[in-house]
């Protein structure tokens, strides 16, 4: 890219030559995975573009928005209620990194043995290649993971930082704490914006986010078809776009894609043949830049029909009750919806087990791949409870613990191929 955004990157203080290397590395990995697929829906063009503009056009939008007094708030977890940020015309922007390129920059100061997602995110910021780091006015962390919790303390020295406490149990007391956290977050945002979150604005934005969730749920439904009209890798690209794009525009384009997918189903068009082996991915997220395991599975001839992850159903299931005009009720509704996310940081987390077993049946899954980012102990250990239930239903599973590097591709291919042979 002889890039029209070069000046913008310079102005916000990025290391432009290094940033160019980063984009090249991401493009290379994109072309070898997403770009190498056959028979993609035409509507995917938009979502490829969302990815390609994530360091360009989208950043420019945020900068323009900031000039109008509307700030950007960085987030690292789908537990942070976007609706509250949007209600003051601010933009919530997930900052999680999915590229191996930046990992060494985090390892210069941070321990090597923490999760690749945290290292990738920090490395982007430390190496001055994350365009969102310099333009955000506040960052919001949470307490879903130990490595993150301690990272926030260090980042808070340099950045306006707020931490939401996500409780570790789901009893009444915990729900009360979480409700208070949501309110405190609202107060924080109001203080930063120097304006109130009005019930009217909150109502509008609850609707916007619900519409986005509905569109993603619809996409999820369409993937139940045999063969699915879209690859699991493309569905992941859509999902990754959901975490970056302007929500109203995103939803419009996803609704268009969904229409195309319905037509493809009627016309019998799919990247796969009927009877293709159907895989559920379960576990940790795959954020933008990370297409590794999805691509490996689909290159081996199976397809992913559902992602039971934070870049999947956990992001878009459950809507927030709409049409309340009372701020307290709205905050109740938000707290209630977000508390339903079955993160493995909760103990016990039995709703996740029930949910995952249901999904295996609803999506006619032939096998489950536990996708665990290395050092994510809670998701890793929770596979034992999941497997105990899958075993009862005769659902085979394969656990993949990996990071963003390519050093284990050979072994992974053998393990994935052998797992798929087992499903024959």
């Amino acid at each position: 890219m002889e890039n029209k955004y070069e000046k913008m990157w310079q102005d916000i203080g990025l290391d432009v030559p290094l940033h160019k290397e980063l984009l090249e590395s991401i493009n290379k990995s994109f072309n070898a995975t997403v770009g190498a697929q056959q028979n993609r829906p035409l509507g995917m063009k938009y979502f490829d573009q969302v990815l390609h503009e994530s360091h360009g056009g989208r950043v420019a939008e945020l900068i323009e928005n900031k000039a109008r007094g509307n700030k950007t708030v960085g987030t690292f977890c789908i537990y942070v209620p976007d609706e509250i940020v949007m209600a003051v015309d601010f933009i919530p922007m997930p900052l999680c990194g999915g590229t191996n390129f930046s990992v060494p920059y985090a390892e210069k100061t941070f321990p090597r043995d923490i999760c690749p997602l945290v290292k990738s995110t920090l490395g982007l910021a430390f190496s001055k290649t994350c365009p969102y780091a310099p333009i955000k006015s506040m960052a919001v962390g949470e307490t879903t993971c130990d490595a993150k919790k301690k990272t926030w303390e260090i980042l808070a020295k340099k950045v306006n930082f707020h931490v939401m406490e996500v409780p570790q149990k789901k009893n009444d007391l915990d729900k009360k704490i979480w409700r208070e956290e949501v309110e405190e977050f609202k107060n924080k945002i109001e203080a930063l914006a120097e304006r109130k979150v009005t019930p009217e604005k909150l109502r509008q934005n609850i609707k916007i986010m619900n519409d986005k969730r509905r569109a993603l749920q619809k996409l999820g439904e369409l993937r139940k078809h045999d063969p699915p009209p879209i690859s699991g890798l493309d569905a992941l690209v859509v999902m990754q776009g959901a975490l970056n794009d302007e929500p109203v525009r995103f939803t419009q384009n996803l609704n268009k894609l969904n229409q195309e997918l319905e037509e493809r189903i009627t016309q019998g068009i799919s990247p796969f043949a009927k009877g293709v082996k159907r895989i559920m991915i379960s576990g940790t997220p795959s954020v933008m830049g990370n297409w590794k395991v999805h691509s490996l599975i689909e290159k081996s001839g199976a397809t992913i029909v559902v992602d039971e992850s934070c870049t999947g159903t956990r992001y878009y299931e459950n809507l927030v009750t709409e049409n309340d005009n009372n701020i307290d009720k709205q905050l109740d509704a938000l707290a209630e919806r977000y508390m339903k996310i079955n993160c493995s940081c909760f103990t016990p987390n039995d709703d996740r087990i029930t949910d995952a077993v249901n999904k295996v049946e609803q999506f006619k899954v032939n096998g489950v791949v536990h996708y665990i980012l290395q050092y994510c102990h809670t998701y890793n250990v929770e596979t034992l409870k999941l497997d105990a239930e899958f075993k009862k239903k005769n659902i085979p599973s394969l656990k993949i613990v990996t990071d963003y590097s390519e050093e284990d591709i050979g072994q992974l291919r053998t393990r994935i191929d052998a797992f798929l042979e087992r499903l024959e």
Binding site: Q411, T414, A418, R422
Partner: protein
């Protein structure tokens, strides 16, 4: 019909030729730095009607020769079942991978475990350690069997274990004891993997590492099980590939 199987591994290439359910020929050569040329070399020496490729180089064989492929996990299950019909568990320790495979009574893979990245606990680990101690790989197991008491090796990483060995040597530790300790450390890792798959029925120990007497004895002792060792433990995958035609 003559069916062949080629197993292009990280360290050796194995070929097995079967006619009417009988092994009529087999050969093992080093993979070296040019697996393609060496595969061609071994293939040119035999006549067969059909062939299936397996092992690390299976994609290479698929691309270059158009051979159908199976994973070495399926191939080892089939091969072990062919050699020992009562086999329900296969322990395969090869050049850069170790695998535990649970096999059905029909020779199908029911479950498996495999090391997920580095060559810790594999044949390559033994090779590097043998060299560090000044043994050839063929002597290594025998030398370890002569030990009085095993030295404790904590590291499974080939690089770290090598420095651990050097440190033990500098403390005057006996080389045979160190050799035994190294064998013991692989066994501990393998036993952990077996725990996740379970041990059932007849147990086959295959792969190049099964040629090592010390490994065979330690493993049998640790598992309290008699291990069945194929006459030629390295060609089980190639046989299984030939049976996958």
């Amino acid at each position: 019909m003559i069916h062949a199987g080629i197993d292009i591994g990280s360290r050796t290439i194995k070929l097995a030729v079967l006619e009417q359910g009988k092994i009529i020929a087999h050969q093992i050569i080093d993979t070296g730095i040019d697996p393609l040329a060496n595969s061609k070399k071994i293939l040119s020496q035999y006549k067969f009607d059909k062939i299936v490729a397996t092992g690390y180089g299976r994609y290479l064989a698929q691309k270059q020769f158009g051979f159908p492929i199976v994973t070495e996990i399926k191939a080892y299950a089939k091969g072990a079942h062919f050699l020992f019909p009562g086999c329900r568990t296969v322990i395969d320790i090869g050049g850069q991978d170790s695998k535990i495979i649970r096999v059905s009574s029909h020779g199908k893979v029911e479950d498996f475990e495999m090391n997920d990245r580095c060559a810790a606990g594999t044949g390559r680990f033994l090779e590097v350690m043998a060299t560090t101690l000044g043994f050839t790989i063929d002597q290594f197991g025998e030398q370890a069997c002569d030990a009085k008491k095993p030295a404790t090796i904590n590291s499974m990483c080939t690089v770290f274990a090598e420095s651990e060995v050097i440190s033990l040597l500098s403390h005057g530790e006996n080389v045979h004891d160190i050799a035994l300790g190294l064998h013991q450390s692989i066994i501990n890792r393998i036993v952990g993997m077996i725990g996740r798959v379970g041990l059932e029925g007849e147990v086959i120990f295959a792969g190049g590492v099964a040629k090592n007497r010390c490994m065979r004895e330690l493993l049998a002792k640790k598992l309290h099980k008699k291990l069945l060792i194929p006459e030629e433990p390295q060609i089980v995958g190639a046989i299984g590939a030939a049976l996958s035609v």
